[in-house]
Amino acid sequence: MFTIALKDIRQYLKDRTAVLLSLLLPMVLITIFALMYGGIGKPKESRPISLLFTDQDNTELSKEVFTTLNDQDAMQLFPKSYNEATGLIKKGKNAAVLVLYKGFQDSVEAGKKVPMELFYDEAKEIEMGLLQQALWSNLFGITIKKGIKGKVNTWIKEKNPNLTNSELLDIQEQVETQFSDFEQSEDSGKMEKNSNLPMTALVGEEKNGNLGLVQAIAGMAIMMLLFSVASSGASLLKEKEDGTFRRLLVSPISPSSILYGKMLSTLFMAVLQLTVMFLYSWLALGLDIFINLPALILMILSAAIACTSFGIFMASICKSRKQVESLSTLIILVISALGGSMMPLIFMPEIMHKLAIVSVNYWAIEGFFDIFWRQLPLSEIYPKMLVLLGIGILLTTISVISFRRNLLKLV
């Protein structure tokens, strides 16, 4: 078993280009995905969402709306004409335009339906979700305040038809002053303060890197590892195609030793690849891999065992390397998508969360999240390691049975 494993490792290390590629490619992908998820750079900095703004009312109130919204950190407003703005959205350059139609201020003050509309690109769903949050609270803050004042004035006018214009103006000024005084009063400040919802991050408060970086490393490392082990597993079939397998079978070692030898060499390569990935993440991307080193080592080993068994499983159920290549690519892409390697599970519907548990990627990614993001102790992480080991044992058992059935028959 060890002789076969050592021979395989020697063969692997001799192909320097292949070794370099097997290590470089995941590094490149981790970096790209970390950039995509915003995992590289200052963690709390986020780009403001741009919103186009078409002011057809051009009144004091519409200008106030522009200023208030533009003052928000989460938003940056760009004034555009209606045609220009809708054109930019249709071309995919911007996500949305807020249009305030003629009569905006009058309607607000009269407490009527407000003539305004938001036009958006449905493809930019995520951006729109964030925009809505920032937009509604501020926009309705302004319009409702104005609307209440208008309603009050209208009510006074209707209930007191005998009042002269100068008396009405005087009352309106009084209402305006009362609103204004209240906004500037301590009571208003207290109310605003009291109504603020205090928020505390229970997870990720003492962050190690950031969420995007952990997602990129955990997701990509496992997916790339699966591709690597699938090709290592295929070396078993290469032995068969090259005729060396027959020679191995006539030698005084058991057929199972051949399989275990292959597993051992694949495991070595898997551990090497994951170790290099995490060292790269530490040195180049700033992930503190020493935060829980024993847990990391055990998680690397568990993930490597589960992935290795997948590679051997593929080799044992397929009859040629071509079959391994196409079938494993398909399976890896599916389980990686399910398990959250390609896209974080938080963006997926509930059903996908349930399906994810069948994926090696899911358990490994969750394990790495436990270590780096949730910063849980080993006692909380080990169940995920056990699941990975369980997957490894199950796939290895099936592989041994299939191996005996398929390969020994075909010599």
């Binding site: 063969q11 060396t244 027959r246 020679r247 079978l249 006539v250 070692i253």
Partner: protein, 308 residues
């Protein structure tokens, strides 16, 4: 050394071997001669434990092959038909790997690899990767890999397929050297010259049956055919010669501008043959009467050419 009794093996509806029995003496070089698909490789696969026969018994030095399989495997060396080596490893790395699998280590492994590389004339290339070797050199390393553990019996499955004459001769010399050292070998081939040149005894196998067995002389003696008349023409035949065989007692092979008549009555058949050729407007370029070859024996026994 090796006794195989009534070996049978079938794949679905194809009978690859039918009650094949063999008895190989210690130090003997036994040739298994037959066309492609005759059952040579299946026989070797069964004798070397790679395949289990459907029925029959295999005894090595009086003990069943399967009684202690690991021990039996250590007695056996197999030179497969294909180059069963790792192309991206060097010759020495390949040999050390195969040697280690048989439990040879350290100095013993080192000296054995050196000895074999010397024997096969590849010492100066031992640190080169197999993929840089010529076909003949690969074949030689392929043989060396089967000899590292000092096997008692070696199966060579067509070890000279696809190589140049020079490498073939070198391999013949190695085999003769191993034979002279007393190594028992079973050699399969569909080249009759190889069997004639190398083997002490020859078994002729066709469609899973051993149809004749013995030394070359014994096979010749048992054959009704005694001589071969080889004729070469300067032109190809224009007339239909398909019925010409009816005029002779022996077997007639016609190919392009050559004709071989295997006969037991060369004295009477020769004048007839010349007369018929003249009648068919075939101009003789060369005519030779040779002693009987394995090819003719095979043709007589099976009715088909060895290379069919």
């Amino acid at each position: 050394m090796l006794v195989a009794k009534n070996l049978s093996k079938s794949y679905k509806e194809i009978n690859a071997l039918n009650n094949v029995s063999l008895s190989i003496k210690e130090g003997e070089l036994y040739g298994l001669l037959g066309p492609n698909g005759a059952g040579k490789t299946t026989t070797i696969n069964i004798l070397s434990s790679l395949l289990k026969p459907d029925s029959g018994e295999i005894l090595y030095q009086g003990k069943s092959l399967y009684q202690n399989l690991t021990k039996s495997k250590k007695m056996i060396g197999v030179v497969p038909q294909e180059i069963a080596l790792y192309e991206d490893l060097t010759a020495i790395e390949n040999l050390k790997f195969w040697g280690t699998l048989y439990g040879i280590k350290g100095k013993e492994l080192h000296s054995k690899t050196d000895e074999l590389l010397e024997l096969l004339g590849l010492s100066d290339r031992k640190n080169h990767k197999i993929k840089t070797y010529s076909g003949g050199m690969k074949r030689r390393i392929n043989i060396a890999a089967a000899l590292l553990h000092n096997p008692k019996i070696v199966f060579m499955d067509e070890p000279t397929v696809g190589i140049d004459p020079q490498s073939r001769n070198l391999i013949f010399e190695v085999i003769q050297e191993l034979h002279s050292r007393g190594l028992t070998m079973i050699y399969t081939t569909h080249y009759m010259e190889e069997a004639e040149r190398l083997c002490d005894r020859i078994g002729i196998i066709d469609e899973g049956n051993i149809i004749a067995e013995g030394s070359l002389e014994e096979l010749k003696k048992s054959s009704k055919i005694k001589e071969e008349i080889h004729v070469k023409f300067t032109n190809t035949q224009k007339t239909d010669l398909s019925n010409i065989n009816n005029h002779f007692n022996g077997q007639l092979l016609i190919q392009d501008n050559q004709m071989v008549l295997s006969t037991s009555h060369a004295n009477t058949d020769l004048p007839n043959l010349i007369q018929m050729c003249t009648h068919a407007d075939l101009h003789l370029e060369n005519l030779e009467v040779r002693s009987l070859s394995l090819e003719s024996i095979f043709l007589e026994l099976t009715g088909k050419s060895l290379r069919d």
